[in-house]
């Protein structure tokens, strides 16, 4: 009995010593570095920032913020960066409703009601928008879909907003007589809000966005998710499925999806920048002057974001915002910090 217990204890001891010795940090600290890292006096140096950063919101902007955050950390930020993907609407609820987040990722501009809510916080917040990239919303079908390569805006409005259209053939008799399987973002998603306004409200000539929203939610065979990844998987699965989400999610699954051209234009960088693609929209991050001043790490992060976003934006899958917009955002940032 005693020998066995001591063997167990010895094994645990040895294992923990080995695990402890494997820690790369401890290996480095035993040596004195021969190159002294320069301690810069740049107030926006990532390594000089105290505290943590909490961002939340859009699933479209989310991956972009995460890529920038990773880069920020690799450049020396010692604190914690937390990014929650919960949808633009939910992100604003956390930014303006409970005041928990420092940055709100948004794929649509902030609404009046949300600005009001922000003012009600103590201390009140006055949201400032920073444009960080351009997104094209890609309307996608599965690669197995053989009958659809191009849609008109009007057709789109009917596909996603008309409750009488259940099968593809209801809209165009040359299409198959199969149920349309729709995959769309949910109501917390900025992509949803934008699409409802741009496509459904305008395409079906509906008075208010609330009516358009009701129409969009009421169509047959629809699945929603705030998580665009779920939508991608859904559309991939059937030749009769159709969905829409940020173009980055399409580019990541290009081998299984086809992006439709809308009235002849595809969601490419050129078309997005020149504005010829119908569903190109700016992507934002929001913060507030009070936060920027009381939490310098947030200001440093946003500055880093604006300076470095174009290095990652193509890889993530979006399109770079025009240089003058980025510079304008930078100016807004500098003004807010004063």
């Amino acid at each position: 009995m005693k020998t066995r217990t001591s063997i167990v204890i010895a094994t645990i001891f040895i294992v923990s010593v080995i695990l402890g010795a494997c820690n790369p940090k401890s290996a480095a600290s035993t040596d004195t570095p021969t190159i002294e890292p320069t301690i810069s006096i740049d107030p926006f140096d990532p390594a000089n920032q105290p505290g943590d950063i909490y961002a939340a919101g859009s699933s479209t902007v989310g991956p972009l913020s995460e890529a920038v955050a990773e880069s920020f950390i690799a450049d020396g930020f010692p604190g914690q960066i937390k990014n929650d993907i919960i949808g633009t609407g939910a992100g604003f609820k956390r930014f303006c409703g409970t005041g928990e987040t420092d940055i709100s990722n948004a794929s649509r501009p902030i609404k009046e009601s949300e600005i009001e809510a922000c003012k009600q916080l103590t201390p009140g917040r006055d949201p400032i928008a920073f444009t960080v990239a351009i997104d094209g919303i890609a309307v996608v079908v599965s690669k197995e879909n053989t009958f659809l390569t191009d849609v008109s805006r009007e057709q789109l409005a009917h596909i996603f907003g008309d409750q009488n259209i259940i099968k593809w053939s209801d809209l165009d008799p040359t299409w198959p007589a199969e149920d349309i399987q729709r995959f769309t973002p949910g109501t917390d998603s900025g992509t949803f809000d934008y699409f409802v306004e741009e496509v459904i409200q305008k395409g079906l000539n509906v008075e208010t966005s609330d009516e358009a929203k009701a129409l969009a939610l009421g169509v047959a065979n629809i699945q929603f998710s705030e998580d665009d990844n779920v939508l991608v998987q859904g559309v991939e699965g059937s030749p009769y499925a159709i969905g829409y989400f940020g173009v980055a999610y399409y580019l990541n699954a290009e081998d299984k999806l086809t992006a439709l051209s809308i009235d002849g234009t595809l969601p490419t960088q050129e078309n997005a920048e020149t504005g010829t693609y119908a569903l190109a929209r700016p992507l934002f991050i929001y913060s507030d002057a009070g936060i920027l001043q009381s939490k310098p790490q947030v200001a440093a992060f946003i500055k880093y974001y604006l300076e470095n976003v174009n290095k990652v934006v193509i890889k993530v899958g979006y399109f770079p915002a025009p240089q003058n917009e980025l510079e304008a955002s930078m100016q807004v940032l500098m003004d807010a910090i004063q």
Binding site: A90, K213, Q223, G234, G237
Partner: protein, 312 residues
């Protein structure tokens, strides 16, 4: 006990009755409080669920009958019919039981009637491993293996990427060990004399099992099935990953649909701010789930106690 201490007290002249009692009472109190934590837990559950559920039913346009019979569930535009979520839950549960009941029961019969002690020693741990695997792993299995398999067998067009059948079948595999172990306990409890009497009359093994042992163990088996149903209804991760999002009212198991638990998981993946229709809806559905599982668990225990009494 008291007269022993009195005896000692007489012997040594020291009264030892008082001292232990104070610490004893203290310990008694502490343990009682521990026991009451569970009661507090239940109360908090009832209060939290009930309060928000009442707030939910106070919303304009929401009535209890509308809630339970309406066929559209879209809280953001004011449609509060929970039936689609219930049918989805029932369909996935149905397939789960379809898998778990026969397989679990037959496995239990094999373990208790046929297997040698050595075989049992090998097979039972394997079933325990099956029972111990977290549900998120089953969800991964449903999405990456079961759904593609179903699509190969039944065709890519008939089976959607997210569907209820795949989730239901995998859920059945997950609950199987539960049915098996509870049924096995029930079978084990049947006295040997019953079996011997049947053999003595010339019955074959299968006849003994079906006509003598199973009826005797019936209460335990039914209890295990009811508990399995309760477990299947409350399961979240498998359906959240593989069954679908966005409620749809359909009876076709090859299509996607959202269950009650799947809805709660999806909405809380977003944010659940106070006083939005979705927030209150979560509590209404949560209350419904709580009541259903409560009723099922009570029935299960009643079945065991009632039938067992009659038999003995």
């Amino acid at each position: 006990m008291s007269h022993i201490s009195q005896f000692q007290a007489v012997q040594s002249g020291v009264d030892i009755r008082r001292k232990p009692r104070r610490t004893e009472s203290l310990i008694h109190l502490v343990l009682l409080l521990c026991g009451l934590v569970s009661v507090v837990s239940t109360f908090s559950l009832v209060i939290v669920l009930g309060r928000e559920a009442i707030l939910f039913f106070k919303l304009p346009g929401v009535t209890l009958s509308g809630f339970l019979t309406g066929t559209t569930w879209l809280p953001s535009i004011g449609k509060y019919g929970v039936l689609p979520l219930i049918t989805a839950t029932l369909i996935t549960t149905f397939f789960a039981i379809l898998v778990a009941l026969p397989l679990g029961l037959f496995a239990a019969i094999y373990l208790s009637e046929y297997a040698s002690a050595k075989t049992r020693g090998v097979l039972k741990p394997m079933l325990e491993i099956l029972a111990g695997i977290p549900s998120v792993v089953y969800g991964f299995f449903a999405l990456t293996f079961m759904t593609p398999l179903l699509r190969i067998i039944l065709g890519n067009d008939t089976v959607q990427v997210y569907n209820m059948l795949s989730a239901g079948l995998v859920m059945g595999i997950m609950i199987l060990p539960l049915v098996c172990s509870m049924s096995e306990d029930a079978l084990y409890a049947v006295p040997r004399s019953l079996r011997d009497a049947a053999y003595g009359l010339g019955a074959t093994k299968a006849e003994t099992i079906f006509h003598v042992v199973l009826p005797a163990a019936l209460s335990g088996i039914i209890a295990s099935v009811i508990l399995a149903i309760s477990r299947a209804i409350g399961e979240t991760m498998i359906v959240a990953i593989a069954a679908g999002s966005g409620s749809s009212f359909t009876f076709n198991p090859l299509k996607a649909a959202e269950t009650m638990t799947g809805y709660i998981a999806r909405i809380s993946g977003g944010d659940v701010a106070y006083d939005t229709p979705e927030y209150n809806a979560i509590f209404a559905i949560g209350s419904l789930l709580f009541i259903i599982s409560l009723i099922l668990n009570v029935i299960s225990r009643r079945v065991v106690s009632h039938f067992r009494e009659v038999y003995e």
